[in-house]
């Protein structure tokens, strides 16, 4: 046994140097190492720079040799380039896939003549005492600023975009939605000394398409600013601090533009709660890597739109008003109903029937038909029924029964009748009818049209009051449709509806309604 062990030991001692010799003899530096130089970092091939730039030369060395090697790397820069640190670096790589890299900063003086410069990196590899030399060369073109500016361009700006830089067709272009707090709510919170819990920042993206028309690879850094159109100063609300850091540290992108190509990149866009709606100037800046010089600037006007707080608050208030009015009515229903004689109630009910038969039923069919025929101007036709006829009935009813509550009862009958017959038990019908009733009741009572000494005969006064009330109701109605059913209406359409249907037609209807009421009074008495 001892003999076998001795023999094995001898064998190992003999074989080891032979094996090492074989391995060392087989070492091929190009196959068993990887040596890369990139100037500037990230550019494969020829780089581009302008004078007065600080660039980094990237050196990378990796061993594929299963053994120890000592490497000395020497960076040789052209005359005039200023290296910020030592040009020679030595290191040892112990095993396969062991690697080393450095970014070596150097400066290109402003007066460096334009032209193509060779930057050479030499690696001397010492394996078991045998030295092998590997040389790599990168070319760096020092170009004039004009030349670079002519080759790089921002071909497209997409605001807002998705995270890949592509536009979203469901959002309008060049528009940002700011989540600003309602001005009314802000004021209320100030008065009540309450504070708003700050929500997270809103963020979106912008897509930037860059084009390189030249023959050289161009490394660039892309940043942006959102400027105030009047002062030209960057607006802090669009570049707020993010977790204690300046937004500039995240709102940039480094891109290497291949010759004759276009690249689409995306940049994040942050919107703080302080951002206000309005017009802004988006300025995208493209800098050449290593230089502070801005090669390309692209300006685009963008609009920050805030939520339409008017309709939101109107809907909320109208809903509260409707519910309060209903609650008030139900809690005091006995007292309210006792003011009316049975014949009054029957009369109101029958007026409800007339309004339903003369307005709601024809409108069920004519509404869509008129939309198809008259398009956006159908309100001019439907208003004849919805406003003139309706207010004729309301005004004549007020002349016949000039008591507070008469309009509320009429509206309630209309709501229930519409619900029972056409199924219009919708929140929108409830809100619009209740707001209409409350405003009309209040205005008519305050103006003395209804109440203890009622005076419902003044056509002009009542026409104005009803017209005003219907203008408010029309606005509420549009707000409710927009908020609850997410519908959109143009401003001109809303204004035209409010003025023509809401005021003019109502005024006309009320005017004739008082005549009708006075004639009916004789029959009623």
């Amino acid at each position: 046994m001892k003999n076998i062990g001795f023999l094995l030991l001898v064998l190992v001692i003999i074989v080891q140097p032979v094996a090492a010799q074989v391995q060392q003899e087989d070492f091929k530096p190009e196959d068993m190492t990887s040596f890369i130089i990139q100037v500037p970092h990230g550019v494969e091939g020829n780089g581009l720079a302008v004078g007065n730039s600080t660039l980094s030369a990237y050196l990378f060395f990796e061993s594929y040799y299963d053994g120890n090697m000592n490497v000395t790397v020497d960076l040789d820069l052209p005359e005039g380039f200023v290296l910020h640190e030592a040009s020679i670096h030595s290191f040892s790589l112990q095993t396969e896939y062991d690697n080393w890299y450095r970014l070596l900063d150097f400066y290109i003086p402003a007066d460096m003549p334009c032209g193509v410069y060779n930057i050479t990196a030499k690696a001397v590899v010492d394996v078991e005492g045998t030295k092998h030399t590997i040389v790599r060369t990168a070319q760096l073109e020092v170009a004039s600023k004009e030349e670079v500016a002519n080759e790089v361009s921002v071909s497209q700006l997409i605001v807002p975009s998705d995270e890949d830089g592509y536009g979203d067709p469901s959002h309008p272009s060049n528009t940002l939605v700011v989540q600003e707090t309602s001005p009314a709510l802000k004021e209320l919170l100030k008065v009540t000394d309450l504070k708003i819990e700050k929500e997270d920042l809103t963020s979106t993206f912008m897509g930037i398409e860059l084009t390189n028309t030249g023959n050289t690879t161009i490394p660039v850094i892309v940043t942006y600013d959102i400027l105030d159109t009047k002062t030209g100063e960057p607006v802090k609300a669009f570049k707020p601090d993010i977790m204690g850091m300046s937004a500039d540290t995240v709102c940039y992108a480094t891109v290497t533009l291949s010759p004759g190509s276009s690249s689409l990149i995306s940049l994040p866009l942050y919107i703080s709660q302080d951002a206000m709606g309005g017009d802004y100037l988006l300025r995208v800046k493209v800098k050449l890597t290593g230089s502070d010089w801005i090669a390309v600037t692209k300006d685009q006007k963008i609009t920050a739109i805030s939520r339409k707080w008017g309709p939101i608050l109107t809907t909320f208030t109208a809903l509260l008003l409707g519910l309060t009015a209903l609650g008030f009515f139900l809690s005091r229903s006995g007292k309210i109903m006792d003011r009316f004689k049975t014949r009054n109630l029957v009369l109101i009910a029958l007026f409800g029937t007339v309004s339903f038969a003369a307005i709601n039923l024809p409108m069920t069919i004519l509404w869509e038909l008129s939309h198809a025929i008259f398009g956006p101007f159908s309100f001019l036709f439907t208003g004849l029924f919805n406003e003139i006829l309706l207010y004729m009935l309301i005004a004549s009813l007020v002349v016949l029964i000039p008591k507070p509550g008469v309009i509320s009862l009429f509206m309630m009958v209309r709501f229930l009748l519409g619900g029972f017959i056409t199924g219009s038990f919708t929140p929108i019908t409830f809100i619009t009818l209740s707001v209409n009733a409350v405003i009309l009741e209040l205005l008519l009572y305050i103006a003395g049209v209804t109440g203890k000494n009622p005076a419902p005969d003044n056509r002009f006064r009542m026409g104005i009051l009803c017209g005003f009330a219907d203008m408010v109701s029309s606005y509420v109605s549009f707000s409710v449709w927009m908020i609850l059913y997410r519908l959109f209406y143009s401003d001109w359409y809303i204004t035209a509806n409010i003025l023509i249907d809401g005021f003019l037609y109502t005024f006309i209807g009320t005017w004739f309604g008082i005549s009708l009421g006075n004639r009916l009074k004789k029959v009623a008495e």
């Binding site: 014949r343 069920t364 939309h371 009862l409 059913y485």
Partner: protein
């Protein structure tokens, strides 16, 4: 069209349910139609009402009328949003060019957008869902029962005293009077129209002539209504209407097993929908 809005006497599951439970379901559907945001959920909400129509087995004429109503809602929403959708891009065609005298500068041009039409199409599910539910409630509930449900929506007895939440019974009386008077009124207006035409009233012509003709029909119609109303009021008063505030009712409303099951379904549907809206499927308020 007349048959669409009428109660249909049958013996379906919905017919047997308490009207208050059906009203609660309608309320749930209306709430969800407002809070849902995604087209899929809106479509599902609308579709959730359809099985009840299948259970109801409506007549062919009713089906036609329902389709007509839904189509008209759909068309109305589609057209309006094709014209006004804020985010729309690339108009399909121009209705009023911005250079058109007066209207052009006022409106900034009116265009028809395809993406607006699609938006309007799926927003129409909001109205169609609640409309479908409301029509189901009407088709399966006798008007008298429905009024009863409104009057005695919620009733509780504490220490021998009854507390009720609902509309005053006078309102119920007004609504039932209005409903029952509608056919009479339509008949009456036909008679007046014939009488006026016999006296030489010309309906054909310009708007002014039509407005004048309307006046000739409307005034006698309302006069007749006043007279009929007075008779009705006297009849009601002589029968002790409003004589006693605490009145009793012929039909007692009491929830049964099926009502509780449907109530649980409604609660689950509504709360599930609200939860979905809360976790991100809800609709944001438009900007």
């Amino acid at each position: 069209m007349k048959s669409l809005f009428r109660y249909e006497q049958k013996d379906s599951l919905l017919h047997r349910l308490d009207p208050r439970v059906k009203l609660f379901w309608l309320f749930g559907i209306s709430v969800l139609s407002v809070v849902f945001g995604t087209p899929d959920l809106l479509a599902i909400l609308f579709i959730s009402t359809l099985p009840f129509w299948f259970m109801l087995k409506p007549s062919k004429s009713r089906i036609k009328a329902i389709i007509l109503i839904f189509m008209s809602v759909l068309l109305s929403f589609t057209i309006s949003q094709a014209l006004f959708y804020y985010w729309a891009k690339d108009p399909l065609f121009t209705l009023v060019p911005s250079s058109f005298p007066l209207l052009g500068p006022l409106t900034g041009g009116i265009y028809f957008y395809a993406d607006g039409a699609v938006y309007g199409l799926y927003q129409s599910f909001r109205v169609m869902a609640s409309l479908s539910a409301a029509m189901l409630v009407i088709a399966t509930t006798h008007p008298g029962m429905l009024i009863d449900a409104f009057v005695r929506f919620f009733e509780i007895r504490i220490a021998g005293k009854s507390y009720r939440i609902g509309i005053p019974y006078e309102i119920a009386f007004m609504v039932s009077s209005a409903v029952s008077f509608a056919p009479t009124m339509l008949e009456e207006s036909g008679i007046i129209l014939n009488a006026m035409q016999a006296r030489g009233l010309e309906l054909k012509g310009d708007v002014r002539r039509k407005a004048k003709a309307l006046k000739y029909i409307l005034v006698p119609l309302v006069v007749n209504i006043l007279r009929a109303g007075r008779k009705l009021a006297i009849a009601a008063d002589t029968r002790g209407f409003r004589a006693n505030r605490h009145r009793t009712y012929v039909n007692e409303l009491k929830l049964k097993r099926n009502d509780y099951i449907f109530l649980i379904y409604t609660i689950l549907l509504t709360s599930g929908g609200l939860y979905l809206s809360y976790i991100g499927f809800g609709g944001t308020v438009p900007v």
